[in-house]
């Protein structure tokens, strides 16, 4: 296990480094010189050259990359060419907001999917089980941002019970913070919950056919008891794999949902950065999101091993 952990950690670091190369190379292709853009068309060549050396964009790409990547390793994302503000703290602030959004959505999705999916599997032969399957199919067909728009229509426009957007920091007003997050959480959680319900259902269905469940019943357990004691942990193994993939999807879904609800998270920062052609900022945010996906994959792989003794 320790050996695996070390190896897997190595893979994580190597892929993060490779991802950094890809992100940097991509952005280096960007036409236009940040210094020229910053100073406008009327700038003197001398001023541009000076700004260039200030930005460090006059150096060879390899040097620039090493400088940027070296900074990243220490949590330094550089300074924006456009606003002149350091990027790291901005990303730090926004990351917290997005993380709350994503984790809340995931928790909600699990709260929906685990009971519903299990129920649908146990009752797969009757109407209610089939109804859950149909409902989850419909849920999957609705993208998170569309769910957001529908929820705004129902809860903000019709019922006027919740805000249609905006974000209040928790330190300012915890109650408003919560009210503002309800609809974004629901947008992400309902859709992901629908996706997960299907996976939970099929995992539980598979487990229900397993011989060891029959063994458990032969020991004197009822069908439900056998499923609880022996089925759910086994069923959780494939679900954990999917959970990792979904968490990555959710992270990206959050970018769009932030736009729907005007929430100042990473997605908002990223899209603003693109709009303002803030190269280094976009580079930084993309890197953080990609690293988050890689980290999630790492955690899932390790969790997988912990759950299944056959892989230890």
């Amino acid at each position: 296990m320790t050996l695996y952990l070390v190896k897997r950690l190595g893979v994580l670091l190597a892929s993060t480094a490779a991802a950094a190369v890809v992100v940097f190379a991509f952005m280096a292709l960007l036409p236009g010189d940040p210094a020229e853009i910053a100073l406008g068309v009327n700038a003197t060549p001398e001023a541009v050259a000076e700004l260039r050396s200030q930005f460090g964009t006059d150096r060879a790409p390899v040097v620039q990359f090493l400088d940027w990547a070296g900074g990243l390793a220490q949590g330094d994302f550089g300074t924006s060419y456009v606003t002149g503000a350091p990027i790291g703290p901005q990303i730090g602030d926004r990351l917290g907001v997005t993380a709350v959004l994503v984790l809340g959505g995931m928790v909600l999705a699990l709260l929906i999917a685990v009971p519903l999916g299990t129920f649908a599997a146990v009752h797969h032969r009757n109407l209610l089980g089939a109804a859950i399957s149909v409902a989850s199919q419909l849920g999957i067909a609705i993208p998170a941002f569309l769910a957001g728009i529908l929820l705004v229509f129902v809860f903000a426009v019709q019922a006027q019970a919740l805000p249609s957007g905006g974000y209040v920091p928790i330190a300012e007003n915890p109650a408003e913070w919560l009210r503002g997050l309800v609809l974004p959480w629901l947008s992400l959680g309902l859709v992901q919950g629908a996706v997960l319900t299907r996976y939970v259902r099929s995992a539980v269905l598979d487990v229900m056919r397993e011989d060891y469940l029959r063994t458990a019943r032969a020991k004197g357990r009822g069908a439900t008891g056998a499923l609880w004691r022996h089925g759910l942990r086994n069923a959780s193994i494939p679900v954990v794999t999917v959970l990792g993939l979904q968490l990555a999807t959710l992270l990206i879904g959050a970018v769009v949902v932030e736009r729907v609800f005007v929430i100042p998270g990473l997605g908002d920062l990223l899209l603003n950065g693109v709009a303002q052609r803030d190269l280094l900022l976009v580079q930084g945010v993309v890197m953080v999101l990609v690293a988050a996906v890689l980290l999630i994959n790492f955690v899932v792989d390790v969790a997988y091993r912990l759950l299944d003794p056959r892989l230890r």
Binding site: Y212, R214, A216, A218, D308
Partner: protein, 307 residues
């Protein structure tokens, strides 16, 4: 001496198809009975109906009593208490019968805590049981996960689970079919030694001969012949038993291997009357009427018996 298990008029069916028809037999205390038949004969369903573990949509009727307690047509909550304590079962496939995520010892202990033993007591006794089924280093095996054991070892663990609460009847459904030949023999000897009373299901005549005292031959969901193993195997009366024995006998080189012509029909496709008549070389129009299972001790259901 009164019987331990009494089965009377047991039928098992799914939808409108009858899979086991009007089965009656008894097992005395300490008796070892073989239930033999090809796949599709209904032998596994018979066992599962006694355990109350029939798959969804399959229903049993008739009566089966174990020491005065009903097993068929009773509420699940009541049969549940008997499973694993009064009667227990070892299945065919040892590789998949154990929970892969749980230590072996815990899986043996579980069956005891379920029926009222304290956790600590059960854990200790689990190791003793593993020793009883002749697993070397039982304490270490108890800490292992199923995937770390061989098929034969896993089947011994299943046997330990089955024996844990000193049941009155042990049912084994092809317990050695999935094992290596060398392991099979040891396993059979162990089962014969530890079983309180035994219902042993198999398609293998040699296995029945080595383990059981009495045999029931099933075909098409019915018992077609029953009696002491030695007698049935040396003087088979039903034509199906006769064919089965002939097919299993080792034949000298060059002679044609005798087989039963045709194959076992699908469930619900057996002929009316004698279920074997469409494959029987001795069938006559008389066989269109179902023969009854008659005879004391050695009974058979055939209009044109052999010998």
């Amino acid at each position: 001496m009164s019987a331990l298990l009494t089965v009377e008029g047991l039928s098992v069916g799914a939808d409108s198809v009858e899979l086991v028809h009007d089965l009656s037999f008894t097992i005395g205390p300490g008796e070892r009975v073989g239930l033999i038949g090809e796949s599709g004969s209904g032998k596994s369903l018979t066992a599962l109906s006694l355990m109350g573990l029939l798959p969804e949509g399959v229903v049993a009727s008739g009566t089966a009593r174990l020491g005065g307690r009903d097993l068929v047509g009773v509420q699940e909550a009541r049969v549940k208490r008997l499973r694993g304590s009064e009667l227990s079962m070892v299945f065919q496939e040892p590789m998949t019968a154990l929970n892969p995520l749980m230590r072996v010892g815990a899986q043996v202990a579980e069956v005891m805590t379920l029926h009222g033993r304290s956790r600590q007591d059960a854990r200790q006794r689990a190791v003793e049981l593993l020793a009883r089924v002749r697993l070397p280093e039982p304490a270490e095996i108890a800490r292992a996960y199923p995937h770390q054991l061989s098929g034969g070892q896993r089947q011994r663990v299943m046997l330990a689970i089955a024996l844990a609460n000193e049941p009155r009847l042990l049912i084994c459904d092809e317990p050695t079919t999935a094992l290596d030949v060398t392991v099979q023999k040891q396993m059979l000897e162990l089962i014969a030694e530890v079983a309180p009373a035994l219902l042993f299901i198999t398609h293998d005549l040699a296995v029945v001969a080595s383990v059981c005292e009495r045999v029931l031959v099933m075909y098409g969901g019915r018992v077609v012949e029953s009696g002491p193993v030695r007698e049935v195997f040396t003087h088979p009366r039903h034509r199906y038993t006769e064919g089965l024995l002939a097919a299993s006998r080792l034949t000298p080189r060059g002679t044609r291997l005798p087989t039963i012509s045709g194959s076992v029909p699908a469930a619900g496709r057996f002929p009316s009357g004698c279920v074997f008549r469409n494959r029987c070389p001795h069938a006559t129009p008389a066989c269109e009427t179902a023969p009854a299972l008659t005879g004391d001790g050695h009974a058979f259901a055939c209009w044109h018996p052999a010998g």
